[in-house]
Amino acid sequence: MADVMVSVPAQARRGEIIEIKALVRHPMENGFRHTQTGERIPRNIITNFVCRYDGVEIFRATLHPSITANPMLVFSTVATASGRIEFSWTGDNGFVVTQAASLRVI
């Protein structure tokens, strides 16, 4: 259902700082808008994002209604060892999406 795009370099040198981009398709309906007939459109946003590197949390963010639709996050980490980088988004109405990428450290 949800489209996810993550960008992690396929390989990196040990100790190198790598940039990670994570994007997910989501309307981030902020709960402040109304339909033409005046009904309030209920809030439906992603509230939390977590990134884990080999099971250890390296980045976490709390998102608020101000964040745009299809939220994008760019952050970094130090390439320590080859492993899995896992992403997870959770939000209103039981929204849960996970994605993983693998990084080879040389």
């Binding site: 902020n30 808008r33 980045f59 976490r60 209604p65 970094s76 980490t77 130090v78």
Partner: protein
């Protein structure tokens, strides 16, 4: 009633409907709300200007998507690193934008994301360092098309 009058009546009703919709729009947050939100994060600690660089375009045509990045001057070592980066707005319906939590494993203290901006206003970034100090930077942004509340669907 001739067709011309009917058209005028319709226009009047449409105008009223639009006015009614405007009345139910929520009030924007104020700079005071933002300061209250900031105090919640800092617990009243001093927030000093410097070490933080908030990058945001000074003139925004479409407030629906404004890319920003926050860079903090920090060595990002085990003993001296940035714990969190918070972004606030003065005039969106709510003052919060994002709370990002990082640590020494980030390597460098920099985050990028996109925000909505409801009005011409000042955006603030606050960094919380591992030694318990808070640093800030702010940017004034002129927004020509506002986001969040103006658009009816």
């Amino acid at each position: 009633m001739n067709s011309f009058d009917r058209r005028r009546d319709f226009l009047k009703t449409a105008g009223l409907a639009a006015g009614g919709a405007a009345l139910v729009l929520p009030a924007l947050a104020s700079p005071e709300d933002m300061r209250a939100a900031l105090t919640k994060i800092t617990g009243g600690a001093d927030v000093r200007r410097g070490r933080v660089k908030l990058q945001l375009p000074p003139l925004v045509e479409n407030g629906n998507s404004v890319e920003f990045s926050v860079t903090v001057d920090s060595p990002m070592t085990e003993t001296d690193y940035v714990k969190a980066i918070h972004v606030f707005t003065e005039k969106n319906p709510q003052p919060y934008v994002i709370n990002a939590y990082l640590g020494p494993r980030a390597g460098r203290a920099r985050i990028t994301s996109r925000t909505r901006l409801a009005d011409t206003q000042t955006v603030h970034a606050v960094a919380e360092l591992s030694n318990g100090t808070f640093w800030t930077d702010s940017v004034s942004v002129v927004v020509t098309l506002s986001a969040c509340i103006g658009d009816l669907i």
